[in-house]
């Protein structure tokens, strides 16, 4: 049952076995799993509830309704990195591209050997991955739905003999409307609104919208509930929820901020630290034949040829408005370039980063999120951009547009070498990210992280975290399946503990 502010009156005093803060990839998975186990669960979501019919084509309006800060969120650093975060029922699963990749074995092995997280081995996580993929309908696209933007990418990679992996996406009959980022208009994307949350509601779960959690209540050091304010336009209202366990699933930025504002988990010293972002840069290529990015899926393939070097190349079809932001020009010059927009394919390179960012709470509760791309990672970016440019030229591109300020256009393959030799700096590169993770990392020892392998805080018993913030490190692939698998594991362990005791 979804309960919106207008469905209730006055201040709310609620109680449940478990209160889950957030309804994205982590929160919905936890909520559904606990409710299906027979526990009384309340989910609190800060954003509103938008149904498929509500997803309009007006990009600025949809960003304002469904994204945190209206889509204005930026990581500060040597070069500012914009990122998007869903703020609605379903969280970022409503606005993501829907890519479904398991955590690579290599990464899980590394977590086991270097961090002692042996419970996160491929073998242990296999049943969780399986259940997640089944629940969210992770599958390949319908043949023919990929679109030309993906086709030219594949053609370039095939000519070069580079390895391609066909994406699985959480979708049923994705018909290539390519508006993933403002909510799938056809209902094909199986966000948590279509996967975990229906199961949650079926099991009697309650989800309250527009509830901003401000305080995590504790008693004798144990988390016993949360309180905050309702976003009711007519009157100031408050709520409190008491529960046997509190699960934070607010995402990798909001979860550490909430902990910091409550001065919780301070002793471990890791809250808001160590985060990685999979920074990526966007590129575009002009072709003689129409590409029609609008028609097709956002991303059907990934080129995994260079994945051992921490480089992933991928197409990324985007609407015209987003495409216009890739070019460094404006006004009439941009208008002249955009005349050819039907002939432009867009893509990006993603780098497995080794820098670590930090989240701080400034006076008045203002968030400060800082991430500096390192020179080592920048070398990877230059190499990755060169590879993608090579791929596009091989596919027949007339020009390739880069995210490097001093090298906006590559007119011939010879320009690639010149660009590489020029070694564009971090400051002159435009990055973007959608994968922030690791701000409250899971660890085998209390001194190394914020939560244990049950997702429970090392410092505050009864306080659990299940979202991208618990990822122990960078994973090199789109993280939603990893987030859901870990959240599922945490939820099953939590339900076992609560039902026993």
């Amino acid at each position: 049952m979804i309960i919106e502010p207008h469905n209730t009156q006055g201040d709310l005093n609620l109680s449940a076995d478990v209160v889950v803060v957030g309804s994205g990839a982590g929160g919905s998975t936890v909520a559904a799993t606990l409710a299906q186990a027979g526990l009384d669960v309340i989910v609190l979501e800060e954003g509103g509830y938008f149904k498929t019919e509500d997803y309009g084509a007006d990009i600025p309006a949809m960003m304002g309704r469904m994204m945190r800060g209206g889509g204005s969120t930026v990581l500060m650093g040597r070069s500012p990195v914009p990122y998007l975060e869903g703020k609605c029922v379903g969280g970022s699963t409503v606005i993501n591209g829907g890519m479904c990749w398991r955590t690579p074995d290599k990464v899980l092995h590394e977590w086991g050997t270097e961090r002692g997280l042996t419970e996160l081995s491929s073998r242990h996580l296999e049943p969780y991955f399986e259940r997640v993929e089944e629940t969210i309908n992770a599958r390949h696209q319908d043949p023919g739905s990929e679109g030309r933007c993906n086709d030219v990418f594949k053609s370039g990679a095939d000519k070069l003999g580079w390895r391609l992996s066909l994406n699985k996406r959480n979708q049923i009959h994705c018909v290539g409307s390519n508006d993933c980022v403002t909510g799938c208009p056809s209902g094909a994307k199986q966000s948590t609104l279509y996967s975990w949350l229906p199961r949650f509601f079926q099991s009697g779960g309650r989800l309250y919208t527009r509830m901003k959690v401000k305080k995590i209540q504790t008693s004798r050091g144990h988390a016993v509930g949360v309180s905050g304010t309702l976003d009711d336009p007519y009157e100031p209202r408050r709520f409190s929820v008491s529960a046997r366990a509190v699960v934070l699933s607010c995402g990798a930025v909001q979860t550490p901020l909430l902990l910091q504002r409550n001065k919780l988990c301070k002793p471990c010293g890791h809250v808001g630290k160590h985060f990685t972002i999979h920074p990526n840069v966007k590129m575009a290529a002009l072709f003689d034949d129409p590409i029609d990015s609008m028609r097709g899926t956002h991303q059907a393939w990934q080129c995994t040829e260079f994945v051992d070097e921490g480089i992933l190349l991928a197409p990324g079809a985007i609407p015209t408005a987003f495409m216009s932001a890739i070019f460094p020009t404006f006004g009439e010059t941009l208008a002249d370039q955009m005349i050819n927009s039907r002939h432009i394919a867009t893509g990006g390179v993603l780098v497995d980063d080794h820098a670590e960012g930090q989240i701080k709470t400034l006076p008045f509760g203002l968030p400060y999120v800082r991430y500096d791309v390192t020179d080592v990672d920048q070398e990877k970016f230059i190499k990755a951009a060169s590879l993608l440019a090579t791929l596009y030229f091989e596919a027949g591109a007339r020009e390739v547009y880069t995210a490097f300020h001093h090298w906006p256009v590559l007119k011939t393959p010879d320009d690639i070498k010149k660009m590489k030799d020029a070694a564009p700096s971090v400051e002159s590169t435009e990055y973007f990210t959608a994968h922030i993770m690791g701000t409250c990392r899971m660890s085998a020892r209390a001194t190394d992280g914020v939560v244990d392998t049950n997702g429970e805080s090392w410092d505050v018993p009864g306080l659990y975290i299940a979202d991208a913030s618990v990822l122990p490190g960078t994973i090199g692939v789109n993280p939603q399946v990893t987030i859901m698998a870990l959240s599922l594991m945490i939820a099953q362990r939590l339900s076992n503990a609560l039902l026993k005791g």
Binding site: M63, V175, S293, R295, T320
Partner: protein, 188 residues
Amino acid sequence: MSSNFRLSGYQRRIARTVVDAMVPRWTNFGRELTPDVLDGVENMIRNYPAFVRFGIRLMLLFVEFGGPLTLTGIVPLSFLSRRKVTIRLERLSNHRFATVRNVPKFLKILVCFNAYSRQDVEAYLGADRRIWRKQRVEFRDRLVQLDESRDRPPTPHALGTYGTVSTESYLDENRRGAATLNEQRADS
């Protein structure tokens, strides 16, 4: 949550100047976008957090008085002709300091999101998303109905194997006849 944010008269004048220089113009497009895009930008800013809105006010003042940084004189931006405004904004966009470059870049994104997501602009560029979305929603509804009526496993097998719709016609509206024919064959 959306606020009651409004740009002051002076800030709106600067914003209008920036928008006017950044909106697309094509000779046979026949529509002046500045007023609508300016309203759209203001609406967009309204959804931003207070500290970002404050930052945008500062950015407007920065470009207004950024002449000395670009060696384009000391006349405020909003008093210049569109050609001179463009020159100043281009110089700011190419300034040697990244922080300076980021100011017009951010403003440009606000303008572009509002200008290039308009239906008339998308249609002019041959990418009318609203029509495409509508077609796609109807198309998917038909696929889902076919799945339900046949009690067959969903994608990808339902398509290629059972001839619900051919790979070639999946994204091609001009070939809907072919798709319909396939459906009829499959139904019969």
